[in-house]
């Protein structure tokens, strides 16, 4: 027995070797070949070089006291401690939260409304409306900001309109008003993003089988019922995508604020990205700016995952 056991052990080992070799060269049916890495490589290299590496570098910088010119000094988490106790950082994030309403919530609701209007019946000039409503999304932020500075000016079109229709008491220098400056900038954000939501939803609505609408109509559903029973559930994935994209836009909004108010009046329109920019390029506090950037990025990640988790999109995967 001892002999046979001794003989069997090497044999089993050899079998294992053969099996290992077979596994190495042969794959289970449908398993991708290693050559796939070659296809991914160019994209991956770019991603590593221009996204992940800068991200890692930013995290590294956030641990330093660095003015951007002379050698930096390692200070551990001091930048983070300062950021969490900096009232302006907190105020900036509060403003960002308010902007999410304007950049994400309102555009999604508006987009759904327009989708319901534009898809229920054939609309003459559908393509024109779709293009026109999407246009703001394609304009450069600087252009948009300049146009709205003019629209919001005290003798600009918005105030002229209010005066014409007898609401002159509401007319005000919108961007110069302590209470209205942030909502006014939020309004620009709404104007820029709702077109994106609408296009996403219209595309999604076209994938909803018409049989569902027919069934709903046979059952006597009105436009409202039809929207909530068929369109809304059918657009679930698109709504999640729209929410994630627009929330990210809201949190990292910079161009509109930089080109309209730069944080003023007072500190009423400060947002994290503006404060980060000022620290990096005006105050020469690159490390502190990097810490704010990392906190901002972490917030964006957390919120995006939260949206996906809450809407249950993760489970479908």
């Amino acid at each position: 027995m001892a002999v046979s056991a001794d003989a069997a052990a090497p044999a089993a080992a050899a079998d294992a070797e053969v099996e290992k070799a077979r596994r190495a060269t042969q794959r289970a049916p449908g398993e991708p070949r290693n050559v796939a890495w070659l296809y991914i490589l160019p994209g991956l290299a770019f991603y590593l070089l221009f996204t992940l590496a800068p991200l890692a570098h930013t995290v590294e910088l956030s641990l330093f006291d660095w003015d951007g010119l002379t050698p930096g000094r390692y200070i551990g988490f001091a930048n983070y401690r300062e950021a969490f106790s900096d009232p302006l950082v907190r105020e900036s994030f509060r403003h960002s939260a308010e902007l999410i309403v304007f950049y994400a919530l309102i555009p999604v609701v508006l987009g759904l409304l327009l989708t319901a209007l534009l898809t229920r019946h054939p609309v003459r000039g559908f393509t024109f409306y779709r293009t026109a409503l999407f246009l703001p999304q394609m304009l450069a932020g600087v252009v948009v900001a300049q146009a709205w500075v003019w629209i919001y000016a005290s003798d600009g079109p918005l105030n002229e309109l209010l005066r014409t229709i007898g609401l002159g008491s509401l007319a005000r220098p919108w961007l110069g008003d302590f209470s209205w400056a942030l909502p006014a900038i939020g309004g620009i954000g709404t104007w820029v993003t709702y077109g994106l939501c609408m296009v996403l939803f219209i595309a999604g609505a076209q994938n909803i089988p018409t049989s569902l609408y027919d069934a709903a109509r046979v059952d006597g559903a009105g436009p409202l019922r039809e929207f909530f029973a068929v369109t809304l559930p059918g657009l679930k994935n698109e709504i999640v995508v729209a929410f994630v994209l627009t929330t990210i836009n809201a949190l990292r909004s910079f161009d509109l604020i930089y080109n309209t108010n730069q944080g003023g009046p007072g500190t009423t329109t400060y947002v994290p990205s503006l404060y980060m920019y000022q620290n990096a390029f005006v105050y020469n506090r690159v490390g502190y700016a990097a810490a704010i950037a990392v906190i901002l990025a972490a917030t964006i990640f957390a919120l995006a995952f939260l949206v996906i988790y809450l809407t249950g999109r993760g489970e479908e995967r």
Partner: protein, 399 residues
Amino acid sequence: MSLVSRVRVTVQDRDQGRRPVGGKNLVNDPVLGRVLSLAGTHGAVEEVKTGDADDVSPDAALVKARLIIPLDPYIKAYGWDDWYSDSTWSIFRWTDDGKTFGQGPKWGVAQTGQNVAVFANTEKLKALGYDPANMPTTFDDFNAMLADIRQKLPKNEPVIQFGNNEGYGTIHMYGGIQAAYVDPQSVRDWIQHVPGSSYDTPENIQALKTYQEWASNGYFNSDYNAKKYDQSAADFGKGQGVFWMGGDWDSSIIKAGLGDNVMVMNIPPGASGTWASIGATSGPWHISAKTKYPDVAAAWLDYVIASPEAQKLMYAQQQIPAIAGAETPSGDPYLGQVAAAWQQVAGDDGLMLYTDWASPTMYNTLASHFQNLLAGKESPEDMAKAVQADWEKFDKTLK
């Protein structure tokens, strides 16, 4: 550094003064381009660096990082001492470590003067019963004049046209008031972090109170926080407001609108009698530490700042040569007033520099607290404390 010597640069202006002085345009000039490329194999830009136009803090960084060289040997060789008064020279001085402003070697020289002055619409003044040739010569009289004009004007018409969307309009506007209450030297000391300096002084709080009153008395257009600085100059040119208080670099915008119906003066002095205002020079020019030909670069600076040709080019752009004893512009009385206002302040050691230079964060601190002050959301005392706190935070890093 190479052996210091004077090098003569002769440059002919082919276009008779139509080209901007300073900045990159001259570097593209075929003649100058050749002169400058003789100076360095890397081309002209390597030889002479200019700081940011409205911010002196890059200078500290350039000094600290040893990217530029001190100009003192050239100042001696060329006799540039007479160009500026001591208070103006202090703009270009930093200690070798880039920490102490206003002392140490001189690292730069600048072409044009920047003076925040009072521009007045003479047509409106006459209609209100004032003689533009006989304006107030004390701040109190000027202040009383503003109150009187407020009474006479329709309520929706501003006394002073004001644009503060970017936040520096208010820093400039306040400079005029501060000049009347606070000794200019103490303002410079505060900016340059001379120990013991403070923003939180009774005189300065009095000035802040006066400024707040200007707002609560309704001297400004109500949309000043929404209006850009240059836009306010343009609107003043369109006849909105009796006064515009701002930088003389916008004088051409105003002239384009008002033509001959405009006069320029400095804000009249307070009790001290010193003609003072907020202002400085244009962004300083420096010589790169990397150049092999600093002598040639210095010759270029001598030419571009003080030569009659350069002065002519500055005037052609409605800019004011900064150097003392600059020629007066011929055939342009308005520009003559702008130049005289600069020489008056610079010559009286009244140039206060820009208060936002006091710390890297001071610009935004001043901008937001001034907006709160003018809106009545913050008291002068609280603002003075908050601004001084910013100053002290930075002051600690200099020790």
